[in-house]
């Protein structure tokens, strides 16, 4: 098993080369590099690992276990589809290069066999994804900045947790890696909390999630396809690494809450991609709940859901992208009746919507069912259980209803409601190929769940492995799915009218963005002013004492500014013309005197700081 090549390597190489190639050749290379990952990681035997030394520490760059294999396969696949879609959607080479960098670093993160390489790629993901957002320019820049800051904070917390872990155990290796420590997960009492919060940013814990709907609707449509896949799913993977053994009750409930919260918030949205973004949170809630429950069944369910979610959420973003691509509109209110104009897109959307909602026969039904059944069999009843349903289960079911409702809303307004003025072309060939391929997989995995089970880390059909053997198509399950769908339909019919009156629903970032802004300003101004005051004091004391020595008893001007400026003006007369011009230029460059003092831009430069000496 020597001479292993970590899968991220070819992808990143492709990313580097891509900007220098032609569009067609470059994207072809991108598709090739990402697609090649799928068979490669599938074929590498479990347990293979590539020990290296990173910054002088033992690290494992390529660690194959069922979890990472699953992530690698789906990342590679969706990466290839995404590149194809990018090509079809007129993304330029540089953007695709950033996207490939993002894919590559995500692969690096999931195949890392130790905390160090995990967090290393984790941070790089934040960088590459920020670049991907920024590349679009305009409103994406600000959002990208907020995204970067929040992920910076999350990454730092995670890093802190890992350092803590290192201090406890003396190694960065995962417990499962040969040579690793005896314990799995993060050691100590503080590290898991830090890591939970840090990873919580990535998976969109309620309160830490606002970057999702903030960022994902803004960049290029192809960029959104990439974005919706990697960060949150790597987050789920990271969450599993942090709580690998028995899960964590709080995390499980957080997952449940996310499922409900995301779905409800999604219901209020009119921006297509914003709606989908809230759904990421909702769906990730199922996965987080699965990881939080921590049993073999739950973890298998969580990762099955990761797998499926990547397929249908990628597909959803693709369809939404096509709509935007063809119509130029982002709001559901501005489109409608597109089903007739864009049958392929509408079809793909329907498949994806039914998948995400968990309708029987589609892949979402399978994986969501596993998680819900795990929440039923492997988890305590909790505070508000009703009629044999555990609390968590109820949350997840409610989330399911919300999902139905919001996708009925999406589909209704975008494709079926009213009619579209004029003609709109359907998805072009490349987009169609991508969408149909993914849609086919959604159906395939829905109808033949065994194919899905084959990639899961735990065999959910074996009694030896899981506490409760999972059967996909039982009467109960199908009934459950249908009931949810009906509840969704009814619910949507009920709230449709009041919902259309809702203009804007505030989210947590409406509180913490201004709060952060003000707090930062107070901090910055406070610190700098304090510092400036001390500095002025010292400088004045120094100049005064010099003045006292030089001319004892002479009256001293308290303010030195006036005479100094005069002196400067005086001196200018003696300067050669060239330097004079330069001085003036320098002075004009100063915030005080420049024309840009009018100050619409920022608070940093309103006043004069630290001018002395």
């Amino acid at each position: 098993m020597d001479a292993l090549v970590p899968p991220f390597l070819p992808v990143l190489l492709a990313a580097v080369v891509l900007p220098f190639l032609g569009r067609r050749a470059g994207h072809a290379l991108g598709v090739l590099a990402t697609a090649a990952v799928v068979p490669y990681v599938w074929l590498v035997a479990e347990g293979a690992h590539l020990p290296v030394s990173l910054f002088g520490f033992d690290a494992v760059l390529f660690n194959v276990d069922p979890f990472s294999t699953l992530m690698g396969v789906i990342f590679g696949f969706i990466g290839a589809v995404g590149v194809l879609y990018s090509y079809a959607s007129d993304a330029d080479n540089l953007q695709t290069a950033f996207a490939l960098g993002y894919v590559g670093t995500s692969l690096g993160a999931v195949f890392g066999g130790d905390w160090l390489s995990l967090v290393f790629f984790w941070e790089l993901m934040a960088v590459t994804s920020t670049l991907l957002v920024w590349h679009y320019g305009g409103r994406a820049v600000r959002a990208g900045f907020r995204y970067a800051v929040l992920h910076g904070i999350g990454g730092t917390l995670f890093l802190g947790a890992i350092v803590w872990h290192f201090a406890e155990t003396g190694t960065f290796l995962f417990g499962s890696v040969p040579g690793g420590p005896e314990s799995v997960g993060l050691a100590g009492s503080v590290a898991p909390v830090l890591a939970g919060l840090g990873v919580g940013v990535n998976v969109g814990f309620i309160g830490l999630h606002a970057w999702l709907p903030d960022t994902y609707p803004r960049p290029h449509i192809a960029a959104s396809v990439f974005l919706c896949v990697f960060t949150t799913k790597t987050g789920v993977y990271g969450m599993y690494r942090v709580f690998p053994a028995d899960g964590n009750v709080a995390v499980a409930y957080m997952g449940g809450a996310m499922a409900v919260f995301g779905a409800v918030m999604a219901l209020f949205q009119n921006d297509m991609r914003r709606l989908l973004s809230y759904h990421i949170q909702s769906q990730v809630g199922y996965m987080v709940a699965g990881v939080g429950i921590g049993s073999a069944l739950a973890q298998a369910g969580a990762f099955a859901h990761v797998f499926n979610h990547i397929l249908y959420k990628g597909l959803l973003f693709m369809t939404a992208g096509v709509v935007i691509y063809r119509t130029g509109e982002e709001s559901l209110k501005k489109v409608g009746g597109l089903a007739r104009e864009m049958p392929i897109t509408a079809g793909a959307f329907t498949v994806a919507a039914l998948s995400i909602a968990g309708f029987p026969g589609f892949n979402g039904f399978v994986s969501k069912g596993i998680v819900i059944s795990a929440s039923h069999y492997d988890f305590g009843y909790g505070p508000f259980s009703v009629a044999g349903y555990t609390s968590l289960e109820i949350l997840l079911l409610v989330g399911g209803v919300g999902t139905f409702m919001s996708f009925i809303k999406f589909g209704y307004y975008a494709f079926f409601h009213g009619s579209y003025d004029g003609t709109v072309k359907d998805a072009n060939r490349g987009q169609a190929v991508g969408m149909v391929a993914v849609a086919a997989l959604c159906v395939l995995y829905g109808l033949a769940p065994d194919a899905l089970f084959a990639v899961l880390p735990f065999d959910v059909t074996s009694e030896a492995v899981v506490s409760h053997v999972y059967h996909t198509y039982t009467v109960d399950h199908i009934l459950e799915g249908v009931v949810l769908a009906v509840a969704g339909l009814v619910g949507f019919a009920l709230v449709k009218r009041p919902l259309s009156g809702v203009k804007y629903v505030p989210d947590v970032d409406d509180v913490y963005n201004p709060l952060t802004f003000r707090a930062t300003r107070v901090l910055v101004v406070g610190v700098t002013e304090l510092y400036a005051a001390v500095d002025r004091l010292v400088v004045r004391a120094a100049t005064d004492s010099v003045a006292v020595v030089r001319a004892p008893g002479a009256p001293r001007p308290r303010r030195r500014r006036g005479p100094r400026l005069a002196a400067r003006g005086h001196q200018r007369q003696h300067l050669p013309r060239r330097r004079d011009a330069r001085n003036r230029r320098r002075r004009d460059g100063h915030p005080l005197s420049g024309p840009d003092e009018s100050g619409s831009v920022s608070f940093y430069c309103r006043r004069k700081y630290f001018r002395h000496g």
Partner: protein, 408 residues
């Protein structure tokens, strides 16, 4: 580890000092003058690099020049730590030489001869700091560095530049005085100041109070150039110097010599065990941590690009000091923690050097092409000068977008 007696460390130090003479002499012929600069830079890099293989083997080149003052030999040692610093400084000098030539000619600056001569002298001193074998030789080059860099700070000859120069002298010579005092105490306590891995034995058995005072003086003294708060205030002001100076000297050579001094004091004078025993490592770490945070906050509010970079330098330098200090504070603790902290701190010396030099170069390039150096005008510059803007973005992507705004 064997000592190889060789003139190479001395030659590496002297080559740029000697180059000052032809540089000054050819003041009428700029091409020749710059030729000397580049030649000296190449020679210096070659000499320093030639010692690297030995350092990797664990051998040390030593130049012994006999006794200097009582207790003190005038000896240069190119050990691994010193070589690290010297290699960074001389590599970047070569790079900066080319940049300087373009910059100075591009802006049609005055007194270019003085500029290049002082630059060569500064680099000489910086390498001297790197190769110093004891505190006194270190002090020697430390002071020479101050003298050699002063003309560069005051180069502009404006009121602002002169004021910055005065402040620079006051701070750095003040630091020098503290170093001298500390050195004297060490001489008094231990009878020697020769750097010894693991610390000078004599210090461990001496009066702990005096040892603490000596430590405080030395660290304060070196802390001035390392821009530890509250001794940092010269650095932002020194940014009136031409950009290559800010880049190489005030982000690499000068400030790193301060950091390097702190490292020497902790590692080779007191030794981390003694530092931990005296309980001073924690204090230093606290100061460094404070600087780290506060300087970053202040940097947020600087509109002048170079000043912002300067505060960033203040902050980053404290990373290095923090690493070293934590190494000292944790020496009695468990396992490898101290080692890792030290390695991290020292690794940040070259790392920060490369990062910050690139940033300064970008800032300077925009200065020489665009007029103002305030960051608020940069979005405009970005379109006027996209490649530079992009380059300046890449090392630290978040520097520019430093504003939160509600909503979007």
């Amino acid at each position: 580890m064997t000592d190889i007696t060789s003139l190479r460390p001395l030659a590496a130090v002297l080559v740029s000092a000697v180059a000052v003479v032809p540089i000054l002499a050819s003041y009428r012929r700029p091409n020749l003058r710059e030729g000397w600069t580049v030649l000296a830079a190449v020679c210096k890099l070659g000499l320093v690099a030639s010692m690297v293989p030995a350092a990797l083997r664990g051998d040390v080149y030593v130049t012994k020049l006999g006794p200097f003052v009582p207790y003190i030999d005038l000896t240069l040692r190119a050990d691994a730590l010193g070589l690290l610093f010297a290699l960074v400084a001389s590599t970047l000098w070569l790079v900066t030489s080319f940049y300087s030539i373009g910059y100075m000619r591009g802006l049609d600056e005055h007194s270019q001869t003085r500029y290049f001569a002082a630059f060569a002298g500064s680099v000489s001193s910086a390498v001297g700091v790197a190769f110093a074998s004891n505190l006194v030789v270190l002090y020697l080059f430390y002071e020479l560095l101050t003298v050699a860099t002063y003309p560069l700070v005051a180069h502009d000859e404006t009121d602002e530049a002169r004021a910055a120069g005065r402040k620079y002298l006051a701070y750095t010579f003040g630091g020098g005085v503290a170093v001298l005092g500390g050195t004297l105490l060490v001489v008094h306590l231990a009878g020697t100041t020769a750097f010894t891995a693991g610390g000078i034995a004599g210090l461990a058995n001496s009066d702990p109070t005096l040892a603490r005072v000596a430590f405080a003086l030395l660290v304060t003294g070196f802390g001035v150039k390392a821009a530890l708060m509250p001794l940092h205030s010269w650095l932002p002001d020194a940014m009136v110097a031409p950009t290559p100076v800010s880049g190489l000297l005030h982000a690499v050579a000068v400030v790193k010599s301060g950091v390097f001094g702190v490292a020497r004091v902790l590692l080779d004078v007191f030794g981390i065990d003694l530092v931990a025993e005296l309980g001073v490592g924690g204090v230093l770490a606290a100061v460094a941590a404070f600087t780290l945070l506060t300087a970053s906050v202040i940097a947020l509010r600087q509109d002048n690009l170079k000043r912002r970079l300067a505060f960033s330098t203040v902050s980053q330098l404290s990373y290095i000091v923090l690493g070293i200090a934590v190494g000292g504070a944790a020496a009695l603790g468990t396992g490898d923690a101290a080692k890792w902290a030290l390695i991290g701190g020292l690794l940040h010396i070259p790392a920060h050097a490369f990062m910050k030099l690139t940033l300064f170069f970008c800032a300077g390039a925009s200065t020489s092409r665009l007029t103002p150096t305030t960051s608020r005008t940069w979005p405009a510059s970005a379109s006027a000068c996209p490649s530079r803007w992009a380059r300046s973005q890449s090392p630290q992507p978040a520097w520019r977008a430093s504003r939160w705004s509600p909503g979007s």
